[in-house]
Symmetry: C2
């Protein structure tokens, strides 16, 4: 954030316009794979060469967008996780509420490998925090952290793509009733 050396306002403006163009295009066709540098710069009303002054390729731009999404996700969910007196299901529900709020963005970006990885790491982190907080032994007899996270990722992926008519409350209930131990 403030660590970065101050950038040329023209560069900042251009980058914002390119990102806005990406969201504008994605809101239409809902498909990351159909993006092209031409479409993005055309939508942003910028020259195509300008794109390459700021990003290596489309993936570079998408990576930075994903980074920003998860910076926000972390800053919004961390205070929730600090509240140790919350019920088992309230943490999960708080997270699912956030996912629901950004379900359209999530549904598009979940196809992007880096977004998927970030979400996976995020889930692992949250599960790990919850476990150590409740003093659950992480070495013996415990379901592997990664398998639990992969399972949750699968459910979230399904939810935002094909099952978004279910409420976050319902999903939270199903999840907690499915596992032997509460994941979040």
């Amino acid at each position: 954030m403030s660590i970065h050396k101050k950038q040329d306002p023209r560069a900042l403006r251009t980058k914002k316009m390119l990102k806005n163009a990406v969201f504008s295009l994605l809101s239409e066709n809902q498909d990351v794979a159909q993006l092209s540098v031409q479409k993005i710069t055309s939508r942003a009303e910028l020259n195509r060469a300008t794109f390459y002054l700021h990003y290596e390729d489309i993936n570079d731009l998408l990576s930075q967008i994903v980074q920003e999404i998860f910076d926000e996700l972390s800053s919004k969910t961390e205070p929730l996780l600090q509240m140790k007196n919350l019920d088992k299901q309230e943490h999960l529900l708080g997270f699912l509420d956030y996912v629901y709020e950004y379900r359209k963005i999530f549904a598009v970006f979940i196809e992007h490998a880096e977004f998927k990885n970030s979400l996976f790491e995020f889930l692992k982190n949250v599960i790990h925090m919850r476990r150590s907080e409740r003093n659950i032994a992480t070495t013996e007899n415990t379901v592997a952290l990664e398998i639990m996270a992969a399972s949750l990722l699968g459910i979230i992926n399904w939810w935002i793509k094909d099952g978004i008519h279910y409420s976050s409350e319902y999903i939270a209930k199903q999840i907690t009733s499915m596992y032997k131990k509460k994941p979040l």
Copy 2:
């Protein structure tokens, strides 16, 4: 199979060569998205125009490959599912063994939307069969079929992509110990 009207042997040969070219290319770069009609026909040593005599586009070809993969998966796992005297975990293990055998193909094609959908439907079907077989009420108090299938899909996705050093036995054990009710 034998229902189809007999096809021109030249067409059969061409289609087989194109499919082989796809597998050949995928064994090198492991990425469906990097395929092109030019690369495929060049690898198959066929004219590019010939491709369009048999397939609409790359997705059409991939769809037919995926179809064949699941035809084989079904024919190999169905006899296993008919054996009603098997232990809870043996069904799951038999399926995971099949996935392990074809893990390289699976890891590549799991990125393909149609493959993912087919696998999801397959999992739903198997869970449903197991449940009705064991007379589990599907309406009351039971975890939604789709959520369970989505969860398993997430685990399988993780396993074949990032956790294939774990044995199918270990994965089966983790899965059965994670859920309150055995999924398969």
